[in-house]
Symmetry: C2
Subunit: 206 residues, 2 copies
């Protein structure tokens, strides 16, 4: 007999994967129980209902997201600002490449959120953090005099956030696009280009 915690963790992990593979609505207790390796009714020991399970998986997802300050404002200084910002984006793109489940499951919950106040509120809160992160970043860049233009910082920050976010969505089902280059263009479009070698600005390298 395994410890309850293990089963619970496995239950959530397995559900998460199945949600990505089949969608939340089409994932059944039968599938979950089978893959976890327990009997179907055992799930009810941990979750009173399927809705509870769906919420439970969402809770874990939120914890995992909560950009644990996915970028540190302090480490952005005048010298490395643009490179750093590009690196952050490239890193996020690479991570999404590794975990294609994440965006899918998140999209599932986004759709649920359009019909459920609770999910909606919590996703909005996450989104707000995400957006403010970029706002703070651009504010700092502005104060350092790194931006081409100081107007409408908020809109510019949101622009960057929207791009990075949607790169993840597009990656879900289109492999052909040069996402890193898009991100680089987006960043360069806002920042004063420090004069470097032509080749370096046109072709990125990691």
């Amino acid at each position: 007999m395994r410890k309850s915690n293990e089963t619970l963790a496995s239950l959530i992990q397995v559900s998460y994967c199945l949600f990505a593979e089949h969608g939340i609505a089409k994932t059944t207790y039968t599938m979950i129980a089978k893959r976890v390796g327990i009997a179907k009714p055992s799930i009810y020991y941990y979750f009173d209902s399927k809705d509870a399970l769906i919420t439970g998986v969402f809770d874990e997802l939120c914890k995992a997201i909560e950009f644990p300050a996915f970028f540190e404002l302090e480490q952005f200084i005048e010298d490395n600002f643009v490179e750093n910002l590009i690196a952050v984006g490239v890193k996020m793109i690479d991570e999404q490449d590794k975990d294609p489940y994440f965006k899918r499951v998140l999209q599932e919950y986004m759709l649920l959120a359009t019909r459920d106040q609770d999910f909606s509120k919590r996703l909005l809160a996450l989104q707000k953090d995400y957006l403010s992160g970029f706002e703070a970043l651009l504010e700092k860049a502005s104060m350092l005099g790194l931006l081409k233009n100081k107007d409408n910082l908020v809109a510019k920050a949101h622009m960057l956030a929207l791009i990075l976010d949607n790169i993840g969505n597009f990656m879900m089902f289109d492999e052909q696009i040069d996402y890193k280059q898009i991100w680089i263009e987006a960043v360069h479009s806002l920042f004063t280009k420090e004069e470097t070698d032509e080749n370096e600005t046109t072709n990125y390298r990691i």
Copy 2:
């Protein structure tokens, strides 16, 4: 007795709405039949199975999208290029505001597409058209000498496309953001700013 065409149209229309309201997987023949005002088995006269219905709705959706040249390249000339491009985006934003169902249903199918080759192919084709539209546009802008920088036109075009697309997604569940301003910033970030009155560039008006 109504004509078959009417019933079919109603069937698709109602399904489309229910798909948006409840999600595809949770929309049942019972719901559809009730709202259309026919008996449940009557649906089978038009669609052999629920999968067939789902595909049928998708067919209609695709027809509706196929950006019937959602912007005309010819009408973009040197004098009005930026304004026109902004207007196109603002128009799309306004339209999404009017039909909040559209993006939701599309997202539903996007998720289906991650698990179904057929949907995937067809959505990719649509996406490609959408992206090439922006590519052609920026190419023209570049030849007219309207861009700040002629490098990586494709990436820049994709950047614009990603932004406009994700504005639609965000609008699904966040009303608070100034989407039009984001779009304006995105466009301005690529184009050489013609010198106009300060106020006009910082605050848009329709």
